[in-house]
């Protein structure tokens, strides 16, 4: 296996140009929604709104301006599949269409996917959706085809400010740590890394440098695997079955006792009739 590869996205230098979105669509030949005939979203400069089967890159725009405009900033962040080391989508896929590649990335094989949508619900980041052109679940492949040819993914190559950086996870984490220290030294104390260690789903192979709470960027603080409840829920199920069994036993016994009591009353009644 090659060394784990991924993305480090430094949101502080994203300028919201969306070159990554277009480069992704161009390389992966993804269609524009409704042929490009759309309505204005009215949500800042974000008109594609989310990641889905035909949008594998998405630039978020967060406007933070107080009413008196005493301060203000326009946060931008290019979002993508996180290629989790412990990937929920991979766990639930019933056809094994979702695989882990030799680059430690997560790829959906379209020819094996049967479109069951289990992975869509399993992803804690809402990354996956059905591509209407293929009818199968699709998402970022981290340009698996380009990686196999020794090329970097289309989005990071197109990024003019190096907000999206591609490389080995080991090197990217070092670079990101240095950047956080640099920002702290410059007085931006809010800078921190999201998903750059094993604590979050075993590590995100696409991690982020953020300068506000993760929810502000639409990222969950504590993403969870769908299988996290497997052990407690199986215990609970067993306990539930035991309790139900016990109730059944008790009511059966009660029923039997009542039958016996009725029989006795009957027998006693018969005796009284003789008197």
């Amino acid at each position: 296996m090659a060394e784990p590869m991924g993305f480090y996205t430094d949101t502080t230098v994203c300028i919201g140009c969306k070159a990554c979105e277009v480069a992704c669509k161009e390389w992966n030949q993804l269609p524009a929604e409704n042929g490009g005939i759309r309505e204005l979203s009215g949500e800042s400069y974000d008109n594609t709104r989310r990641l889905d089967g035909i949008h594998w890159r998405h630039v978020k725009f967060v406007e933070q301006f107080p009413e008196d405009r005493s301060a203000g900033r326009w946060l931008m962040m290019s979002d993508v599949c996180k290629h989790c080391v412990k990937a929920g989508c991979l766990e639930v896929c019933p056809t094994n269409a979702i695989i882990r590649t030799e680059f430690d990335t997560v790829v959906i094989q379209s020819d094996v996917c049967n479109g069951c949508r289990d992975c869509i619900a399993a992803c804690p980041f809402g990354v996956i959706d059905i591509n209407p052109a293929s009818g199968t679940a699709q998402k970022c492949t981290l340009c698996y085809d380009r990686l196999q040819a020794g090329m970097e993914p289309a989005c990071s190559k197109a990024c003019p400010t190096d907000s999206i950086q591609f490389g080995t996870i080991r090197e990217l984490r070092q670079r990101a740590e240095q950047r956080v220290q640099q920002l702290h030294a410059q007085g931006e104390a809010r800078a921190y890394l999201y998903g750059a260690d094993e604590g979050m789903l075993g590590g995100l192979n696409s991690f982020y440098l953020l300068i506000d709470k993760s929810e502000v960027y639409g990222l969950p603080t504590n993403p969870q695997l769908p299988t996290r409840q497997l052990f407690p829920s199986s215990i609970l199920s067993t306990l539930g079955a035991l309790v139900l069994g016990l109730f059944g036993f008790v009511s059966l016994r009660k029923h039997r006792m009542e039958e016996i009591a009725a029989k006795r009353r009957e027998d006693a009644g018969e005796g009284m009739g003789e008197r």
Binding site: P31, G36, I37, S44, E63, A185
Partner: protein, 331 residues
């Protein structure tokens, strides 16, 4: 991208892995290759792309931010910066000092735009070649006589010193003096090119037009491109929540925008990025519109330049689309 930058920076012809360190290395015998001498030095060695540097100075520290990106030529941030020091090489102002003569050489915050070892009292040598013909007190090294000119014999029609004029259409009177706009601005007098007077109550708002990264010029090429039109699908007008409330306009409502030249429609994009301005104690609202739309393509919309005036800057006739006045109503 780095391959292109390497071509621009230049390299030694017999060993292209060696980049040129600066334009003083250029030779006219074919031993060096360079696409642009001005940018020579931006990429002095493989892996050393100076334009990608992002090292600011710490807050409060004075300097020229020389480790932030790169500026041509030779990473100088202010051209002719010898002029920041007096004839003896001392800063004209200690507070604004930039480069100075330390007795041995020119030094300071910025890269000196002057022969580093030429003392301020070096005499001019009329027989000398190149910069040797200039004395140590001649900062304007690209001029034949080495000094700055207030007036030029031809070319500029205004000057010599910068001043402030209001745009051809403005919501306020020029705060500096009676002359409202440039006396030499180009104006094409036509019935369909009327200008609103200062304070015209029919056109109370300032409007700026600008571009989006997703479209190119008037959009004649980019509005046929589905991947671009889904990113910016419709013409819009950005306005503050304050003005929107005043005019009962909600986000995404259709809005009618008018000037003395024309009237168009666009969807409202209500955002606090636009802010009401207080100018001379008066509250003035400001709206903004991208100008990439027209009537053909996948994405179509009204032509914003129907609002602008045919007014040109006196020297190069660039039209004035960044600031004029308009009215905004719910459509």
């Amino acid at each position: 991208m780095k391959k292109v930058l390497k071509e621009i920076n230049g390299y030694y012809t017999d060993d292209p892995s060696r980049h040129l360190e600066g334009f003083d290395r250029l030779k006219d015998d074919g031993s060096t290759t360079c696409a642009s001498w001005l940018y020579c030095g931006v990429f002095p060695a493989p892996g050393q792309n100076l334009s990608a540097r992002k090292e600011p100075l710490p807050p409060g520290y004075e300097g020229a931010y020389n480790n932030w990106g790169y500026s041509w030529p030779a990473n100088r941030r202010v051209m002719y910066n010898r002029a920041s020091a007096d004839l003896q090489g001392k800063p004209w102002s200690e507070r604004k000092r930039w480069i100075w003569w330390d007795g041995q050489q020119w030094t300071g915050y910025d890269v000196p735009d002057f022969p580093v070892n030429k003392p301020p009292d070096a005499p001019a040598n009329p027989e000398g070649l190149g910069l040797d013909a200039h004395g140590g007190n001649a900062p304007f090294i690209m001029k034949p006589d080495g000094v700055g000119w207030l007036y030029v014999p031809n070319g500029l029609v205004d000057g010599p010193l910068p001043t402030h004029y209001e745009p051809a259409e403005s919501a306020v009177h020029n705060p500096l003096y009676q002359q409202q706009t440039s006396p030499v601005l180009k104006y094409w007098e036509r019935d369909d090119n009327q200008l609103a007077k200062v304070g015209d109550p029919r056109y109370p708002y300032i409007i700026s037009t600008y571009r989006l990264t997703e479209h190119y010029l008037a959009g004649a090429m980019s509005r046929w491109q589905p991947w671009l039109t889904e990113l910016q699908p419709e013409l819009f007008i950005e306005l503050s929540p304050e003005l929107a409330a005043e005019k009962a306009i909600q986000n995404l409502n259709w809005v009618k925008i008018s000037t003395p030249r024309g009237e168009i429609r666009a969807k409202a994009l209500v955002t606090r990025r636009l802010r009401p301005l207080t100018i001379g104690g008066k509250l003035v609202h400001h709206v903004g519109m991208p100008w990439h739309w027209g009537w053909q393509g996948i994405s179509t919309g009204d032509v914003v330049n129907e609002l602008t005036a045919l007014v040109g800057d006196p020297n190069v006739s660039i039209h004035e689309g960044k600031a004029f006045v308009c009215n905004v109503e719910k459509a």
